[in-house]
């Protein structure tokens, strides 16, 4: 019941909140994963250091035994010093262990102890970390217990070593007979002490092996545990990331669709009052003779702006129909020259106003093609209206249509303002207008024409591209399959 209620609460959240919750979870899991990794690395490094440390410890212990044996035989003081030097390793490690058992260990003492034990200074931190966090945990606990027992044996070894030293340091009686007797007694005691040493060594060997085995087993266990945790974390993270990605993608698709539907509806609803404004302005302009020049100027502005708005709405509707995928293609036989004539006719007034010379060349072998007339008409309209819009007074526009092997090549060229190099890559983007285009004709153009043209050409299975030099003009090319 609790889980169901939890899911219901989650479901009632807004999309934003849901995303926040999931993103929060992803971050949490990611942090857990990183922590897991860091923790794992430290633990593994600690275990490795203890295994290495144990090797040094055992080696020194064996060397210390040999030193004592040799000392018992040679009575040479330097052998005894070697013994003491070797036993320093165990005593160092013991110093670190005892300090780490304290509630607030002194890190200098710990470090000093481990370094005496032959451990690398860089490993000290990890050895301390492992000991302090795991000293009461299964494998580590029993390894520490073994270590403590071994330290006890080392203490015994040290005691025996001291006894041998005392024995060998004691002066012999000056009387020869007494000296011989004392030597004999010393040899007997030495032999008993050496046999104690061998027993200690045997017990230490067992403890050393035990310590290695426990650490080895612990290391395998921790590797397995960490691996399981890592795999689980990764899977969870992957699953959550996937959920987030799906949620975001769905939300984007839904919002985008809603946006397009809204644009479509709003644009359509705007058209009716706009038509009334536009037509009224047109009729006013027609009977403007009786008005003052200022009034005539304002009416002209009203008329021009309403026409621009109508064009913008038309473009917005085309974009939303492309975005919504509601456009239905209809193929039929299309005469290219008819389409071209209509597109030019629409611009006739502006061509005359700007005194532009327009040349069209249609190859005689251009066939009647089967295509979507409406789409191709819009492509022609957009390219030709652009070339007119961005031509200067007295400019020149050329339109060439040629039939190549398997496609129709349309070229619209002008010697107008061109497109700046830096902005050429954005020219087909939605609502983009180049800086010089805005400057040249602020009131015209919606930034949608080329975006629509590209989408329509794509729909026709063709390709659109251009080359342009700022201030020299542009050539637009369209390739449509025949």
């Amino acid at each position: 019941m609790g889980l169901r209620r939890y899911f219901r609460t989650l479901k009632e959240q807004t999309v934003q909140n849901k995303l926040n919750i999931i993103i929060g979870l992803v971050i949490l899991i990611l942090l857990f994963g990183l922590l897991n990794f860091w923790f794992g690395m430290r633990v593994m490094s600690g275990i490795r250091a203890y295994v290495g440390g144990e090797g040094l410890w055992s080696k020194a212990e064996k060397a210390a035994i040999i030193n004592l044996e040799r000392y018992a035989d040679s009575h040479d003081e330097s052998d005894y010093r070697e013994f003491l030097k070797n036993i320093e390793v165990q005593l160092g490690d013991k110093q670190a262990r005892l300090e780490m058992n304290k509630p607030a260990p002194d890190m200098t003492v710990v470090r000093d102890g481990f370094i005496k034990g032959g451990n690398h200074p860089d490993d000290v931190e990890d050895m301390y970390f492992l000991y302090r966090h795991f000293r009461d945990v299964s494998y580590m606990k029993s390894a520490i217990q073994t270590w403590a027992e071994a330290d006890q044996e080392i203490q015994n070894l040290l005691n025996v070593g001291n006894q041998i030293h005392e024995l060998l340091s004691a002066p012999l009686p000056s009387n020869l007979a007494a000296a011989a007797q004392a030597r004999q007694a010393r040899a007997a005691e030495l032999s008993s002490l050496l046999s104690q040493i061998y027993k200690i060594d045997a017990r230490l060997t067992v403890l050393e092996n035990q310590f290695s085995a426990i650490l080895g087993e612990g290391s395998r266990w921790i590797t397995k545990t960490l691996l399981t945790a890592t795999i689980t974390t990764t899977c969870l993270l992957g699953l959550l990331s996937l959920t987030v990605a799906i949620m975001i993608a769905r939300a984007i698709v839904r919002l985008d669709r809603q946006k397009s539907e809204f644009v479509s509806l709003a644009s359509h609803q705007l058209r009716t009052p706009l038509t009334a404004v536009k037509w009224s302005a047109e009729l006013l302009a027609r009977s403007a003779d009786s008005l003052s020049p200022t009034q005539q100027k304002y009416i002209a502005k009203l008329h021009e702006s309403s026409q621009r708005m109508a064009a913008l709405i038309g473009d917005l509707l085309r974009v939303s129909s492309l975005d919504l995928g509601t456009y239905q293609s209809e193929e039929k036989e299309v005469k290219i020259n008819g389409l071209l004539e209509t597109a030019i006719y629409d611009q006739q007034k502006k061509i005359a106003q700007k005194n532009i010379s327009l040349v069209t060349r249609i190859d005689p072998d251009v066939p009647v093609i089967k295509t979507d007339e409406q789409l191709l008409a819009i492509v022609f309209q957009n390219l030709i209206s652009n070339s007119v819009k961005y031509s200067r007074e007295g400019g020149r526009i050329e339109v060439n249509v040629a039939a190549k092997k398997e496609h129709l090549l349309i070229q619209v060229s002008d010697n107008g303002i061109g497109i700046p190099d830096k902005q050429q890559s954005q020219i087909f983007s939605k609502l983009f207008r180049a800086d010089n285009a805005v400057e040249h004709s602020f009131n015209e153009g919606t930034g949608l024409g080329l975006y629509i043209a590209k989408a329509m050409v794509k729909r026709l299975g063709g390709k659109i591209w251009f080359d342009s030099v700022e201030n020299s003009g542009s050539n637009f090319y369209v390739k449509i399959p025949l």
Binding site: H268, T275, A276, W279, S280, E282, G314, S321, Q328, Q374
Partner: protein
Amino acid sequence: MADRSILVIEDEANLRGILRDSLASEGYKVYEAKNGEQGLALALSERPDLILLDIVLPGMDGLAVLNEIRKEENWGQNAKVVMLTNLSDSRSVADCLELGAHSFLVKADWTIEGILSMIHDELKDLPSQ
């Protein structure tokens, strides 16, 4: 143009008024209808030379009106019907052309001058009545 008659079927009073005034000033005899039913009745009774037909209309819509006109055998099948609408989706255009509309004009994209010139062209070859 006095002998030419045009029926405007348009629910928006502002637009209907502008069209009526402009057409009348060109000398056309103008009939007006503000909904589909009224428009169809006028079309069948007056048989105008050309009909300007909106699509979005209260009650019977423009497509239904066109469909009914085409059912009338003598005059209706060849009556000149020009769709004058603010819908521009490909489905509406295709439906109207399929039903035999002569042209499909988007109101917002056309000027009155353009509409008058188009009507003039449509009617110039029509034999005098």
